[in-house]
Symmetry: C2
Subunit: 156 residues, 2 copies
DNA sequence: TTTAGGGTTGATATATTATAACATACCTTC
DNA sequence: GAAGGTATGTTATAATATATCAACCCTAAA
């Protein structure tokens, strides 16, 4: 059991099911979940935290998979494009999506103190209504919230 | 008149009043709006678009104000910290705040095609209620919306 | 008046994040 | 078996941001 998303859960099962889900999705949509892409997703699922591209690259390099930046950026691009991973712009970091497959507008809660990131979601409807009344067409949204997670609040 | 925030407005008046407002605020709060800081804010107000730090630095350099990165990053840090400028994380770019002084949670609408950025705001109340029910303390929020602005929709 | 402190600036160097560009390999399919 | 698409390997470089340390300037306390 790990401490994730400010709550407890069975991590091994979570990794396995998320990987299986990604494989199913890729098969269904004729996307190539190649070994490098699969391993990057697996790393992000296992670590279950927002990681920098070069952190991931270091792991890949230690496993002999690849040591040049394009290796990891290409894999991340694939994973982000297809909804398996989110980029946390505010941290320049990447995080495995905790509910892939669902059409969601991610909301990240980033703890300034410990760096933990929890993914939530919010109704996009209100947002969309107000934005599009101005004629703006929403394609992607990222809401980044920074603050203190429960554990760090207690520690402070 | 310029085309800003997907609408028209009197830009010269807007720049002047925003600068005056910044000066008033700084005087009241004993913040030092030094020449470099003031000029960076003025540049962002005049351009009225999201600019990269190095774009701003190039202008400062051409004016003999400073040519090294810390010059612009220090000024931006001051301006962002004190609410005169927002950072658009998704673009690694900076934008003068269109309603400084108000306690607001910025919402940026970023046009993928032309790069225009309009700042809006949204009720933080709902957001705060749902986040804090999990024990998370919100300190800062950034919602970044990418899509197509009205002009680019027509062009497409 | 001097000295200590805080805030700002100058300047050099470097860290961190990300992409361009081009060659190669590997499939599929026609 | 040649063409075209997708993915990978590799080198180099671009773009963004920060660390560090010395100098300066103002203020205020000793």
């Amino acid at each position: 059991m790990h401490d994730i998303g400010f709550a407890q859960h069975d991590h091994a099962a979570c990794v396995a099911s998320a990987l299986a889900s990604a494989e199913t999705t890729c098969a269904a949509e004729k996307l190539q979940l190649t070994p490098t892409r699969r391993r990057v997703l697996e790393i992000l699922l296992e670590e279950h935290r927002a990681m920098g591209a070069y952190d991931i690259l270091a792991i890949l390099a230690s496993e002999g998979i690849g040591s040049q930046p394009p290796v990891v950026y290409r894999a991340l691009d694939f994973l982000v494009t297809n909804g398996f991973v989110h980029k946390i712009e505010k941290l320049n970091a990447y995080l495995a999506c905790t509910h892939p497959g669902e059409d969601h507008s991610p909301v990240f809660m980033i703890c300034r103190a410990c760096g933990a990131v929890a993914e939530s979601s919010m109704p996009l409807a209100d947002l969309r209504r107000s934005a599009e009344s101005t004629g703006f067409l929403i394609e992607t949204t990222v809401l980044e919230i920074e603050g203190l997670c429960p554990a760090c609040r207690e520690a402070a």
